[in-house]
Protein backbone atom coordinates (compact mmCIF):
# COMPACT_ATOMS: atom_id res chain seq x y z
CA UNK A 1 0.00 0.00 0.00
CA UNK A 2 2.91 2.36 0.72
CA UNK A 3 5.95 1.80 -1.49
CA UNK A 4 8.99 3.96 -0.93
CA UNK A 5 11.82 3.47 -3.39
CA UNK A 6 15.24 5.06 -3.07
CA UNK A 7 13.88 8.32 -1.69
CA UNK A 8 16.36 11.14 -1.05
CA UNK A 9 15.42 14.58 0.25
CA UNK A 10 17.91 17.42 0.56
CA UNK A 11 17.53 20.82 2.18
CA UNK A 12 20.34 22.80 0.59
CA UNK A 13 23.57 21.04 1.52
CA UNK A 14 21.89 18.91 4.20
CA UNK A 15 20.60 15.48 3.22
CA UNK A 16 17.64 14.83 5.48
CA UNK A 17 16.55 11.51 3.94
CA UNK A 18 19.15 9.41 2.16
CA UNK A 19 18.19 6.59 -0.24
CA UNK A 20 15.33 5.27 1.88
CA UNK A 21 13.34 2.26 0.66
CA UNK A 22 10.65 0.21 2.41
CA UNK A 23 7.03 -0.76 2.00
CA UNK A 24 3.95 -1.15 4.16
CA UNK A 25 1.32 -3.71 3.10
CA UNK A 26 -2.40 -3.54 3.90
CA UNK A 27 -3.26 -5.00 7.31
CA UNK A 28 0.07 -4.17 8.92
CA UNK A 29 1.14 -1.54 11.45
CA UNK A 30 4.75 -0.63 10.79
CA UNK A 31 6.73 1.36 13.33
CA UNK A 32 9.05 4.03 12.00
CA UNK A 33 11.66 4.63 14.65
CA UNK A 34 14.65 6.92 14.94
CA UNK A 35 16.20 9.56 17.17
CA UNK A 36 14.95 13.15 16.92
CA UNK A 37 16.05 14.72 13.64
CA UNK A 38 16.68 11.36 11.94
CA UNK A 39 14.34 12.15 9.03
CA UNK A 40 11.10 10.49 10.22
CA UNK A 41 8.82 13.52 9.84
CA UNK A 42 10.37 14.47 6.49
CA UNK A 43 9.79 10.95 5.15
CA UNK A 44 6.20 11.06 6.40
CA UNK A 45 5.62 14.45 4.79
CA UNK A 46 6.91 13.01 1.51
CA UNK A 47 4.43 10.12 1.79
CA UNK A 48 1.64 12.59 2.65
CA UNK A 49 2.32 14.46 -0.65
CA UNK A 50 3.43 17.60 1.22
CA UNK A 51 7.04 17.46 -0.01
CA UNK A 52 8.38 16.02 -3.25
CA UNK A 53 11.51 13.87 -2.97
CA UNK A 54 14.66 15.02 -4.79
CA UNK A 55 15.24 11.45 -5.93
CA UNK A 56 13.26 8.23 -5.86
CA UNK A 57 9.51 7.73 -5.77
CA UNK A 58 6.70 7.06 -3.34
CA UNK A 59 3.46 5.30 -4.20
CA UNK A 60 0.35 5.39 -2.04
CA UNK A 61 -2.24 2.78 -3.03
CA UNK A 62 -0.44 2.54 -6.37
CA UNK A 63 -0.51 6.31 -7.07
CA UNK A 64 2.68 8.34 -7.36
CA UNK A 65 2.73 11.08 -4.70
CA UNK A 66 4.14 13.68 -7.12
CA UNK A 67 2.51 12.92 -10.47
CA UNK A 68 -0.78 11.46 -9.21
CA UNK A 69 -0.91 13.49 -6.04
CA UNK A 70 -4.69 14.04 -5.92
CA UNK A 71 -5.43 10.32 -6.19
CA UNK A 72 -2.67 9.50 -3.70
CA UNK A 73 -4.15 12.02 -1.23
CA UNK A 74 -7.63 10.53 -1.63
CA UNK A 75 -6.19 7.25 -0.34
CA UNK A 76 -4.34 8.49 2.70
CA UNK A 77 -4.99 9.88 6.14
CA UNK A 78 -2.26 11.86 7.87
CA UNK A 79 -1.72 13.12 11.38
CA UNK A 80 1.26 15.48 11.75
CA UNK A 81 3.38 15.49 14.88
CA UNK A 82 1.93 18.69 16.37
CA UNK A 83 -1.74 17.58 15.91
CA UNK A 84 -2.80 20.82 14.23
CA UNK A 85 -6.56 21.35 14.62
CA UNK A 86 -8.83 24.40 14.28
CA UNK A 87 -9.39 25.34 17.91
CA UNK A 88 -12.42 27.51 17.10
CA UNK A 89 -14.45 24.60 15.69
CA UNK A 90 -16.39 21.92 17.55
CA UNK A 91 -15.26 18.30 17.22
CA UNK A 92 -18.20 17.47 14.98
CA UNK A 93 -17.97 20.52 12.72
CA UNK A 94 -14.21 20.02 12.35
CA UNK A 95 -14.57 16.38 11.32
CA UNK A 96 -17.40 17.32 8.95
CA UNK A 97 -15.17 20.02 7.39
CA UNK A 98 -12.23 17.64 6.91
CA UNK A 99 -14.62 15.04 5.50
CA UNK A 100 -15.93 17.54 2.96
CA UNK A 101 -12.35 18.42 1.91
CA UNK A 102 -11.69 14.70 1.55
CA UNK A 103 -14.49 14.22 -0.98
CA UNK A 104 -16.99 12.45 1.28
CA UNK A 105 -20.46 13.15 -0.18
CA UNK A 106 -22.75 15.10 2.14
CA UNK A 107 -25.30 12.28 2.52
CA UNK A 108 -22.60 9.90 3.84
CA UNK A 109 -20.69 12.45 5.91
CA UNK A 110 -22.99 12.49 8.93
CA UNK A 111 -22.86 8.71 9.30
CA UNK A 112 -19.07 8.52 8.85
CA UNK A 113 -18.43 11.44 11.24
CA UNK A 114 -20.63 9.88 13.94
CA UNK A 115 -18.97 6.50 13.37
CA UNK A 116 -15.46 7.90 13.76
CA UNK A 117 -16.44 9.96 16.83
CA UNK A 118 -17.48 6.70 18.51
CA UNK A 119 -14.44 4.82 17.19
CA UNK A 120 -11.91 7.24 18.66
CA UNK A 121 -13.99 7.67 21.83
CA UNK A 122 -14.82 11.39 21.81
CA UNK A 123 -18.62 10.90 21.84
CA UNK A 124 -19.29 13.01 24.92
CA UNK A 125 -17.25 15.89 23.49
CA UNK A 126 -18.77 15.93 19.99
CA UNK A 127 -20.29 19.39 20.39
CA UNK A 128 -17.48 20.85 22.45
CA UNK A 129 -15.04 23.34 21.03
CA UNK A 130 -11.65 21.76 20.24
CA UNK A 131 -10.03 24.58 22.27
CA UNK A 132 -11.40 23.06 25.48
CA UNK A 133 -10.12 19.50 24.86
CA UNK A 134 -7.14 17.96 26.64
CA UNK A 135 -4.08 16.83 24.69
CA UNK A 136 -5.22 13.19 24.68
CA UNK A 137 -8.63 14.03 23.25
CA UNK A 138 -7.14 16.36 20.64
CA UNK A 139 -4.90 13.48 19.61
CA UNK A 140 -8.00 11.31 19.19
CA UNK A 141 -9.73 13.95 17.08
CA UNK A 142 -6.52 14.16 15.00
CA UNK A 143 -6.61 10.41 14.40
CA UNK A 144 -10.34 10.71 13.70
CA UNK A 145 -9.77 13.09 10.80
CA UNK A 146 -7.06 10.77 9.43
CA UNK A 147 -9.35 7.70 9.27
CA UNK A 148 -12.68 9.45 8.62
CA UNK A 149 -12.69 8.83 4.85
CA UNK A 150 -11.69 5.19 5.39
CA UNK A 151 -8.40 5.48 3.52
CA UNK A 152 -6.33 2.34 2.98
CA UNK A 153 -3.19 4.19 4.13
CA UNK A 154 -2.82 5.93 7.50
CA UNK A 155 0.31 7.88 8.48
CA UNK A 156 0.63 8.90 12.13
CA UNK A 157 3.59 11.03 13.19
CA UNK A 158 4.34 10.44 16.88
CA UNK A 159 0.70 9.90 17.89
CA UNK A 160 1.56 8.81 21.45
CA UNK A 161 3.79 11.82 22.13
CA UNK A 162 2.78 13.71 25.27
CA UNK A 163 0.06 11.27 26.39
CA UNK A 164 -0.25 10.02 29.96
CA UNK A 165 0.17 6.24 30.56
CA UNK A 166 -3.56 5.49 30.57
CA UNK A 167 -4.10 7.45 27.33
CA UNK A 168 -1.10 5.66 25.82
CA UNK A 169 -2.66 2.25 26.51
CA UNK A 170 -5.90 3.34 24.82
CA UNK A 171 -4.00 4.83 21.87
CA UNK A 172 -2.08 1.57 21.39
CA UNK A 173 -5.33 -0.39 21.29
CA UNK A 174 -6.86 2.05 18.83
CA UNK A 175 -3.85 1.86 16.49
CA UNK A 176 -3.69 -1.96 16.70
CA UNK A 177 -7.35 -2.10 15.70
CA UNK A 178 -6.66 0.25 12.79
CA UNK A 179 -3.94 -2.12 11.57
CA UNK A 180 -6.53 -4.82 10.88
CA UNK A 181 -7.87 -3.13 7.76
CA UNK A 182 -5.41 -0.33 6.97
CA UNK A 183 -1.73 0.02 6.11
CA UNK A 184 -0.51 2.05 9.08
CA UNK A 185 2.86 3.77 9.35
CA UNK A 186 3.51 5.07 12.82
CA UNK A 187 6.54 7.00 13.98
CA UNK A 188 8.16 7.33 17.40
CA UNK A 189 11.54 8.01 18.88
CA UNK A 190 10.94 5.25 21.45
CA UNK A 191 11.59 1.72 20.16
CA UNK A 192 10.31 0.15 23.41
CA UNK A 193 7.01 2.01 23.04
CA UNK A 194 6.52 1.13 19.40
CA UNK A 195 7.47 -2.52 19.90
CA UNK A 196 4.27 -2.87 21.93
CA UNK A 197 2.13 -1.85 18.95
CA UNK A 198 3.99 -3.07 15.87
CA UNK A 199 5.31 -6.42 14.77
CA UNK A 200 7.64 -4.79 12.28
CA UNK A 201 9.82 -1.74 12.71
CA UNK A 202 11.86 0.33 10.30
CA UNK A 203 14.73 2.10 12.06
CA UNK A 204 16.13 5.31 10.58
CA UNK A 205 19.22 7.17 11.68
CA UNK A 206 20.77 10.25 10.10
CA UNK A 207 18.43 9.86 7.12
CA UNK A 208 19.37 6.24 6.38
CA UNK A 209 17.52 2.99 7.11
CA UNK A 210 19.63 0.99 9.57
CA UNK A 211 17.20 -1.80 10.41
CA UNK A 212 13.93 -3.36 9.18
CA UNK A 213 12.15 -6.25 10.88
CA UNK A 214 10.77 -7.62 14.14
CA UNK A 215 12.48 -6.89 17.44
CA UNK A 216 14.31 -10.26 17.19
CA UNK A 217 15.50 -9.51 13.66
CA UNK A 218 16.62 -6.05 14.69
CA UNK A 219 18.64 -7.58 17.55
CA UNK A 220 20.37 -9.79 14.98
CA UNK A 221 21.06 -6.81 12.71
CA UNK A 222 22.55 -5.02 15.70
CA UNK A 223 24.59 -8.15 16.51
CA UNK A 224 23.08 -8.35 19.99
CA UNK A 225 21.86 -11.41 21.92
CA UNK A 226 18.25 -12.38 22.55
CA UNK A 227 18.43 -10.81 26.00
CA UNK A 228 19.09 -7.33 24.58
CA UNK A 229 16.49 -4.71 25.53
CA UNK A 230 14.71 -2.53 23.01
CA UNK A 231 16.83 0.41 24.21
CA UNK A 232 20.09 -1.52 23.62
CA UNK A 233 18.99 -2.44 20.09
CA UNK A 234 17.90 1.12 19.34
CA UNK A 235 21.13 2.64 20.62
CA UNK A 236 23.26 0.10 18.83
CA UNK A 237 21.43 0.54 15.49
CA UNK A 238 21.25 4.31 15.54
CA UNK A 239 24.70 4.85 16.99
CA UNK A 240 23.16 6.99 19.71
CA UNK A 241 25.38 5.35 22.36
CA UNK A 242 28.52 6.26 20.40
CA UNK A 243 27.20 9.73 19.77
CA UNK A 244 26.46 10.17 23.46
CA UNK A 245 29.90 8.83 24.39
CA UNK A 246 31.54 11.20 21.92
CA UNK A 247 29.42 14.13 23.09
CA UNK A 248 30.15 13.32 26.73
Amino acid sequence: MIEIEHVTKRYGAITSVDDVSFSVPLGEVVGFVGPNGAGKSTTMKIIACLLPPNEGSVKVAGFDTVYQSTNARRNLGYLPESVPLYADMTVRSYLDYMGALRDIPKRERGRLVDGVIDKVGVGEYRNRSIRTLSKGYRQRVGIGQAILHEPPVVILDEPTNGLDPAQMVEMRKLIKDLGKDHAVLLSSHLLSEIALICDRMVVISRGRIVGDGSIGELAKTAKLGASATAEDIFMSLTGTAEAQATDG
Binding site: A48, Y78, P84, L85, Y97, M98, L101, R102
Partner: protein, 237 residues
Protein backbone atom coordinates in the same frame (compact mmCIF):
# COMPACT_ATOMS: atom_id res chain seq x y z
CA UNK B 1 -15.58 25.07 -7.01
CA UNK B 2 -17.09 22.87 -4.32
CA UNK B 3 -14.02 22.90 -2.12
CA UNK B 4 -13.49 26.64 -2.60
CA UNK B 5 -17.00 27.11 -1.23
CA UNK B 6 -16.38 24.69 1.69
CA UNK B 7 -13.20 26.58 2.68
CA UNK B 8 -14.87 29.98 2.18
CA UNK B 9 -17.78 28.97 4.40
CA UNK B 10 -15.44 27.83 7.19
CA UNK B 11 -13.49 31.10 7.05
CA UNK B 12 -16.61 33.26 7.01
CA UNK B 13 -18.02 31.39 10.03
CA UNK B 14 -14.63 31.73 11.80
CA UNK B 15 -14.82 35.52 11.24
CA UNK B 16 -18.42 35.85 12.31
CA UNK B 17 -17.76 33.92 15.54
CA UNK B 18 -14.54 35.77 16.39
CA UNK B 19 -14.69 38.71 18.84
CA UNK B 20 -11.77 40.47 17.13
CA UNK B 21 -13.83 40.68 13.91
CA UNK B 22 -16.46 42.73 15.76
CA UNK B 23 -13.80 45.02 17.25
CA UNK B 24 -12.41 45.64 13.74
CA UNK B 25 -15.94 46.20 12.37
CA UNK B 26 -16.73 48.64 15.20
CA UNK B 27 -13.53 50.62 14.55
CA UNK B 28 -14.40 50.71 10.86
CA UNK B 29 -17.96 51.92 11.52
CA UNK B 30 -16.64 54.43 14.07
CA UNK B 31 -14.18 55.99 11.61
CA UNK B 32 -16.85 56.14 8.89
CA UNK B 33 -19.32 57.69 11.32
CA UNK B 34 -16.86 60.34 12.45
CA UNK B 35 -16.17 61.46 8.91
CA UNK B 36 -19.86 61.33 8.03
CA UNK B 37 -20.64 63.74 10.88
CA UNK B 38 -17.61 65.82 9.95
CA UNK B 39 -18.83 66.00 6.33
CA UNK B 40 -22.33 67.24 7.22
CA UNK B 41 -21.19 69.60 9.99
CA UNK B 42 -19.85 72.23 7.59
CA UNK B 43 -21.97 75.22 6.54
CA UNK B 44 -23.99 74.28 3.43
CA UNK B 45 -23.09 70.55 3.51
CA UNK B 46 -23.45 68.48 0.34
CA UNK B 47 -25.45 65.26 0.40
CA UNK B 48 -22.62 63.06 -0.96
CA UNK B 49 -20.69 60.02 0.26
CA UNK B 50 -17.45 61.65 -0.82
CA UNK B 51 -16.17 62.74 2.66
CA UNK B 52 -16.60 59.39 4.32
CA UNK B 53 -15.72 57.36 1.22
CA UNK B 54 -12.24 58.89 1.54
CA UNK B 55 -12.16 57.91 5.21
CA UNK B 56 -13.20 54.33 4.39
CA UNK B 57 -10.34 54.13 1.89
CA UNK B 58 -7.85 55.36 4.43
CA UNK B 59 -9.20 53.03 7.12
CA UNK B 60 -8.96 50.05 4.78
CA UNK B 61 -5.19 50.51 4.43
CA UNK B 62 -5.04 49.29 8.03
CA UNK B 63 -8.22 47.31 8.40
CA UNK B 64 -7.83 45.04 5.35
CA UNK B 65 -4.46 43.62 6.53
CA UNK B 66 -5.88 43.35 10.08
CA UNK B 67 -8.65 41.16 8.66
CA UNK B 68 -6.43 39.01 6.47
CA UNK B 69 -3.34 38.64 8.66
CA UNK B 70 -4.53 35.45 10.32
CA UNK B 71 -5.72 33.67 7.17
CA UNK B 72 -2.47 31.93 6.25
CA UNK B 73 -0.03 33.06 8.96
CA UNK B 74 -2.00 31.33 11.71
CA UNK B 75 -2.28 28.12 9.69
CA UNK B 76 1.43 28.20 8.96
CA UNK B 77 2.23 28.70 12.65
CA UNK B 78 -0.07 25.92 13.85
CA UNK B 79 0.60 23.55 10.94
CA UNK B 80 -3.11 23.21 10.09
CA UNK B 81 -2.35 24.00 6.45
CA UNK B 82 -0.40 20.71 6.20
CA UNK B 83 -3.53 18.82 7.18
CA UNK B 84 -5.64 20.66 4.62
CA UNK B 85 -3.01 20.08 1.92
CA UNK B 86 -2.84 16.35 2.73
CA UNK B 87 -6.47 16.21 1.54
CA UNK B 88 -7.16 16.24 -2.22
CA UNK B 89 -7.25 20.06 -2.36
CA UNK B 90 -5.13 22.33 -4.56
CA UNK B 91 -3.52 25.71 -3.84
CA UNK B 92 -6.04 27.65 -5.97
CA UNK B 93 -8.97 26.19 -4.04
CA UNK B 94 -7.36 27.10 -0.70
CA UNK B 95 -6.42 30.62 -1.84
CA UNK B 96 -9.80 31.41 -3.44
CA UNK B 97 -11.64 29.83 -0.50
CA UNK B 98 -9.82 32.02 1.99
CA UNK B 99 -10.22 35.08 -0.21
CA UNK B 100 -13.98 34.66 -0.62
CA UNK B 101 -14.12 33.79 3.09
CA UNK B 102 -12.82 37.25 4.02
CA UNK B 103 -14.63 39.08 1.21
CA UNK B 104 -18.02 38.16 2.71
CA UNK B 105 -17.42 39.72 6.16
CA UNK B 106 -15.87 42.75 4.43
CA UNK B 107 -19.03 43.14 2.34
CA UNK B 108 -21.04 43.03 5.58
CA UNK B 109 -18.84 45.75 7.06
CA UNK B 110 -19.35 47.90 4.00
CA UNK B 111 -23.08 47.32 4.16
CA UNK B 112 -23.13 48.66 7.74
CA UNK B 113 -21.91 52.02 6.38
CA UNK B 114 -25.05 52.14 4.21
CA UNK B 115 -26.68 53.38 7.43
CA UNK B 116 -24.90 56.72 6.93
CA UNK B 117 -25.96 56.75 3.30
CA UNK B 118 -29.55 56.18 4.41
CA UNK B 119 -29.16 59.21 6.72
CA UNK B 120 -28.07 61.25 3.69
CA UNK B 121 -31.36 60.40 1.98
CA UNK B 122 -33.21 61.31 5.15
CA UNK B 123 -31.39 64.64 5.55
CA UNK B 124 -31.27 65.69 1.92
CA UNK B 125 -31.71 64.61 -1.67
CA UNK B 126 -28.43 63.08 -2.76
CA UNK B 127 -27.67 62.08 -6.35
CA UNK B 128 -27.88 58.26 -6.43
CA UNK B 129 -25.46 57.76 -9.35
CA UNK B 130 -22.26 58.81 -7.56
CA UNK B 131 -23.36 56.88 -4.46
CA UNK B 132 -23.70 53.67 -6.48
CA UNK B 133 -20.36 54.11 -8.24
CA UNK B 134 -18.65 55.09 -4.96
CA UNK B 135 -19.85 51.89 -3.29
CA UNK B 136 -18.82 49.80 -6.28
CA UNK B 137 -15.42 51.51 -6.17
CA UNK B 138 -15.09 50.97 -2.42
CA UNK B 139 -15.94 47.30 -2.80
CA UNK B 140 -13.33 46.87 -5.56
CA UNK B 141 -10.76 48.89 -3.63
CA UNK B 142 -11.39 46.83 -0.48
CA UNK B 143 -11.30 43.58 -2.45
CA UNK B 144 -7.89 44.58 -3.87
CA UNK B 145 -6.61 45.55 -0.42
CA UNK B 146 -7.72 42.16 0.93
CA UNK B 147 -5.89 40.34 -1.89
CA UNK B 148 -2.71 42.25 -1.01
CA UNK B 149 -3.22 41.40 2.68
CA UNK B 150 -3.88 37.74 1.89
CA UNK B 151 -0.59 37.44 0.03
CA UNK B 152 1.26 39.15 2.91
CA UNK B 153 -0.26 36.53 5.23
CA UNK B 154 0.98 33.68 3.03
CA UNK B 155 4.65 34.65 3.25
CA UNK B 156 5.08 34.45 7.03
CA UNK B 157 3.89 32.50 10.06
CA UNK B 158 3.97 35.73 12.08
CA UNK B 159 0.60 37.51 12.00
CA UNK B 160 1.98 40.89 13.12
CA UNK B 161 4.59 40.76 10.38
CA UNK B 162 1.90 39.85 7.85
CA UNK B 163 -0.10 42.92 8.90
CA UNK B 164 2.96 45.19 8.68
CA UNK B 165 3.86 43.91 5.19
CA UNK B 166 0.23 44.31 4.05
CA UNK B 167 -0.04 47.86 5.40
CA UNK B 168 3.35 48.74 3.92
CA UNK B 169 2.33 47.52 0.46
CA UNK B 170 -1.00 49.35 0.59
CA UNK B 171 0.68 52.58 1.69
CA UNK B 172 3.12 52.13 -1.19
CA UNK B 173 0.26 51.65 -3.67
CA UNK B 174 -1.44 54.73 -2.17
CA UNK B 175 1.50 57.12 -2.55
CA UNK B 176 2.62 56.30 -6.08
CA UNK B 177 0.58 59.21 -7.49
CA UNK B 178 2.45 61.59 -5.16
CA UNK B 179 5.72 60.20 -6.50
CA UNK B 180 4.32 60.55 -10.02
CA UNK B 181 3.81 64.28 -9.45
CA UNK B 182 7.49 64.80 -8.78
CA UNK B 183 8.67 63.06 -11.94
CA UNK B 184 7.88 63.16 -15.67
CA UNK B 185 7.71 60.94 -18.73
CA UNK B 186 6.76 57.29 -18.78
CA UNK B 187 7.86 56.74 -15.15
CA UNK B 188 5.27 59.28 -14.04
CA UNK B 189 2.65 57.55 -16.21
CA UNK B 190 3.41 54.14 -14.73
CA UNK B 191 3.40 55.45 -11.16
CA UNK B 192 0.11 57.22 -11.83
CA UNK B 193 -1.36 54.06 -13.32
CA UNK B 194 -0.29 51.95 -10.32
CA UNK B 195 -1.98 54.22 -7.78
CA UNK B 196 -4.71 52.39 -5.89
CA UNK B 197 -6.12 55.79 -4.80
CA UNK B 198 -6.10 57.43 -8.22
CA UNK B 199 -8.31 54.74 -9.74
CA UNK B 200 -10.93 55.45 -7.11
CA UNK B 201 -11.23 59.12 -8.08
CA UNK B 202 -13.62 58.42 -11.00
CA UNK B 203 -15.87 56.19 -8.90
CA UNK B 204 -16.02 58.93 -6.27
CA UNK B 205 -17.09 61.49 -8.90
CA UNK B 206 -19.77 59.16 -10.21
CA UNK B 207 -17.88 58.15 -13.34
CA UNK B 208 -17.85 54.45 -14.19
CA UNK B 209 -14.77 53.66 -16.27
CA UNK B 210 -13.98 50.05 -17.20
CA UNK B 211 -10.23 50.75 -17.05
CA UNK B 212 -10.58 51.44 -13.32
CA UNK B 213 -12.44 48.17 -12.83
CA UNK B 214 -9.76 46.40 -14.88
CA UNK B 215 -7.07 47.91 -12.65
CA UNK B 216 -8.61 46.55 -9.43
CA UNK B 217 -9.40 43.17 -10.97
CA UNK B 218 -5.80 42.90 -12.25
CA UNK B 219 -4.43 43.80 -8.82
CA UNK B 220 -6.63 41.13 -7.20
CA UNK B 221 -5.64 38.50 -9.80
CA UNK B 222 -1.94 39.34 -9.43
CA UNK B 223 -1.90 39.00 -5.64
CA UNK B 224 -4.02 35.84 -5.62
CA UNK B 225 -1.63 34.36 -8.19
CA UNK B 226 1.35 35.36 -6.01
CA UNK B 227 -0.37 33.72 -3.08
CA UNK B 228 -0.82 30.44 -4.96
CA UNK B 229 2.84 30.51 -6.04
CA UNK B 230 3.94 31.19 -2.46
CA UNK B 231 1.95 28.19 -1.22
CA UNK B 232 3.35 26.01 -4.00
CA UNK B 233 6.89 27.11 -3.20
CA UNK B 234 6.57 25.61 0.30
CA UNK B 235 6.73 22.18 -1.36
CA UNK B 236 9.99 22.96 -3.08
CA UNK B 237 11.93 24.41 -0.17
Amino acid sequence: MGKTFIIARRETIAYLTSPSMYVIAAVFAGITGYFFVDGISVPFPEATVSPYAGAIMLALVFIAPALTMRLFAEELRLGTLDLVMSAPVNEWQVTLGKYVGVLVPFAFMLMVTLFFTALLYWLGTPDSGPILTAYLGLFLYGAAALAVGLWASSITANQALAAVVGIGLLVLFSVTQIAAASTTGWIADVLQMLSIVDHFANFRRGVFDLSDVAYYVSLIATFLFLCVRTLESRRWL
